[in-house]
Symmetry: C2
Subunit: 172 residues, 2 copies
């Protein structure tokens, strides 16, 4: 069973991007680099929803090196994005199969919708949140469409530069 | 100038109560008691919106000992709640005057709406959040109606019992 982790940077009020999808308020630091690198070394697959991938492409990132990048979308055409695997089918079913196959860790990039649909089905094992010292007031929520309450276990906390704090939870 | 602090317990996804206003998922501990007591000793006034006060009353708390309790409501009748001061006027104006008067600290109890209207006007100095290890998926948000972005400064973090973590921010 592969470990599936939802990792995001978010505002204290729980948004992962402004309503216009901008994320220039996210703070990079040596700390974030260290945590990201360590996390990245445990992975072989990265999952994204369509909106998250479009934001990545707009920022110049069409794929992530050294991992399989899967994008769930019914509208993107695979021939336009040969760097990644576009899946038009049901994301939950696909992740269920993936989780039961052999391999290393799987990361769900923000996208609160994809993460929520996977959480609804018990397919996410850990949630890592880098809480930023800002209130956005509105935007794209950290989770969206969660249909049940989910108990968590706090596994690790770490104060980062610029007043960020990293919280790692296991889904119980 | 009196310090105004918004203090709440919330879920990792930013809700202070379920949609039906229940908060039985909030976890009490010696740690929370210690932090609350220390905070309480800095106060002489507590502010609540109408919904928050109704939840407190339903839970058997009609007022808080040793402090002035102000409730902002256009519908509650002062004669029904002699234990507190009901203010039917504009909350923001009232808090502006209060903040500029002599006295000790002022606490805004959850209610995301009252806190947001005060944050919009720059009337809150600190935000203390006890992040609980649970995802509620829906409910009453930690803030509601914030009309601008607000930069924060992380002043203190503390791991509490049961996987809660306390984050204290100054509004910049």
């Amino acid at each position: 069973m592969r470990k599936v982790t939802y990792g995001v940077g978010c505002s204290l009020d729980g948004f992962i991007a402004r309503s216009d999808e901008t994320v220039d308020w996210l703070l990079w630091s040596k700390d974030v680099e260290r945590i990201s690198s360590a996390f990245w070394r445990t992975l072989d697959t990265v999952l994204m929803g369509r909106r998250t991938y479009e934001v990545a492409v707009a920022a110049g990132t069409r794929s992530y090196p050294g991992v399989r990048s899967l994008v769930f979308s019914r509208t993107l055409r695979p021939e336009d994005f040969p760097e990644v695997e576009i899946h038009a089918g049901d994301a939950v079913e696909h992740v269920e199969q993936l989780k039961n196959s052999a391999g290393r860790g799987v990361a769900v990039m923000g996208g609160g919708r994809l993460a929520s649909s996977l959480l609804n089905k018990g397919l996410i094992d850990e949630i890592g949140v880098n809480v930023h010292p800002i209130l956005l007031g509105s935007g794209i929520p950290f989770l969206s469409g969660l249909r049940r309450e989910i108990a968590l276990e706090l596994k690790h906390t770490e104060s980062l530069s610029h007043g960020c704090i990293y919280l790692l939870y296991a889904v119980r």
